[in-house]
């Protein structure tokens, strides 16, 4: 076993990547004003360092802005107090120890701007000013972490709601005939993305609350259709899926070159795939056979002039239907 010493290092999974991206996105979306602390304890330059020490200790803060007539004059941090302590100089005024060259940030800036400053400098906090350069708050790394966590939790909650909503889609929307249509453009020769459309369709069906067996049958049928578009077309094609409470209609169409002999194409084991494609494991001549096996109805039309059109249907029995079919007006069959 060499799982431990395997030369293949741990790959960042897409889930990881997705989470990172989401936080990064949030850092751009969230405004400083949304995460900053508004109620700030400010100091004046004439206060003595000993009093400030007491304020910091009682309010559990590690820094505060220094104001003169409401204008920002400096900033004082716990490090400045430590310097005063070391010099046994707590009786001196704040003005002696504060940093007066203060970098500020605007409340309308995105959080990422504050992050950039924190990364580049060793500042622990930044005073936040409005467009008139009036002090409106203060922002620390802790504020940002808290803000991002809150936002992420909110996003997570929203996704839960979406999933819940999706599974009730057909019950929530009342019409004489409701359907959801998904379309996917498939490029010729795009083996790298082969299977993406089918995976997405299967996922959509599961989100809508489909029976897993039915989602699997759809997935297999569409996978084969998808690979046919990738392998056998001139310019790729389109997959269109129409989901209704009582049936799923799948369509794959392209503009050529068409199938000269459909009967032959339907024969198990018959394939026109090139040697190169066969080496990849395609071209077993089982694609259309597999599709037929997975669906309830299959229509294949093709011409060497206009291309190929494959239409499939999966009927959902009452227990598998996406909604109580009897409520869907016209759809009542029994």
């Amino acid at each position: 076993m060499d799982t431990g010493s395997s030369p293949k290092e741990r790959v960042v999974t897409d889930q990881d990547a997705q989470n990172i991206t989401r936080v990064e996105e949030l850092a751009y979306e969230l405004k400083i004003s949304q995460v900053m602390t508004r109620e700030i304890r400010s100091l004046t330059p004439d206060m003595n360092m000993g009093d400030v020490l007491d304020i910091f200790r009682s309010q559990r803060v590690s820094g505060a802005p220094v104001l003169v007539n409401g204008e920002l004059a400096g900033i004082l941090s716990i490090e400045d107090i430590i310097r005063a302590l070391r010099a046994v100089d707590l009786a001196s005024p704040v003005s002696k120890y504060m940093s007066s060259q203060v970098m500020t940030i605007h409340d309308y800036d995105p959080v990422i701007e504050a992050l950039k400053v924190f990364v580049k400098s060793n500042y622990g906090r930044l005073p936040v000013v409005d467009e008139n350069n009036k002090l409106v708050g203060i922002i620390t790394k802790g504020d940002i972490t808290r803000g991002l966590l809150n936002a992420l939790q909110h996003v997570y909650h929203e996704e839960e709601v979406i999933r819940y909503r999706a599974s009730h889609l057909f019950e929530d929307i009342i019409s004489d005939r409701t359907s959801l249509i998904l379309r996917y453009r498939i490029k010729h020769g795009d083996f790298t993305h082969g299977g993406n459309a089918s995976a997405n369709i299967k996922r959509a069906l599961l989100r809508l609350g489909a029976n897993p067996q039915i989602a699997r049958r759809c997935g297999i049928a569409i996978y084969e259709a998808e690979m046919n578009l990738i392998i056998h077309t001139n310019n790729g094609g389109t997959i269109r899926v129409e989901i209704e409470p009582h049936q799923i209609s799948l369509e794959a169409y392209d503009d050529g070159p068409g199938i000269p002999n459909i009967q032959l194409a339907m024969q198990p084991g018959y394939s026109t795939a090139s040697e190169e494609v066969r080496e990849k494991g395609f071209g077993a001549g089982m694609g259309l056979v597999n599709i037929k096996r997975c669906v309830d109805d299959m229509r294949l039309e093709s011409s060497t002039i206009s291309g190929t059109n494959l239409r499939l249907k999966i009927f959902l029995r009452e227990k598998d239907a996406f909604a109580d079919v009897s409520q869907q007006g016209k759809e009542t069959k029994k």
Binding site: M1, S6, T13, D14, A199, K280, F282, N290
Partner: protein, 114 residues
Amino acid sequence: MTLQDIIQQLNLTVLTTPVDFASVQPENGYTSDLLSCVMSGAKSRGIWVTLQAHMNIVAVAALLELAAIIITEDAQPDLATIAKANEEGIILLSTAQSSFFVCGKLWEMGLRAG
């Protein structure tokens, strides 16, 4: 029999991010290098033995909800394929042995066609 036992006994290399293999219990096995045959023949939660190593094996395994793919004769999937497998939760294992050898061993261990 768990995937952990299989990995140990067949001395397989784990290509994807390790998970708790002892909690994965493959229910059946299947072998073919033709993807459409796998599509029609492989059962869910099974092990698929193949010497194909390109991206599309992951799509097939994900659609079929297979437990793992054992890639034989040292065929090497590229990094994108491994990343995709991690994303889809498909376990990729590899070995220098042939598909025939691997299937024989799996059968000896008690795995059946399903």
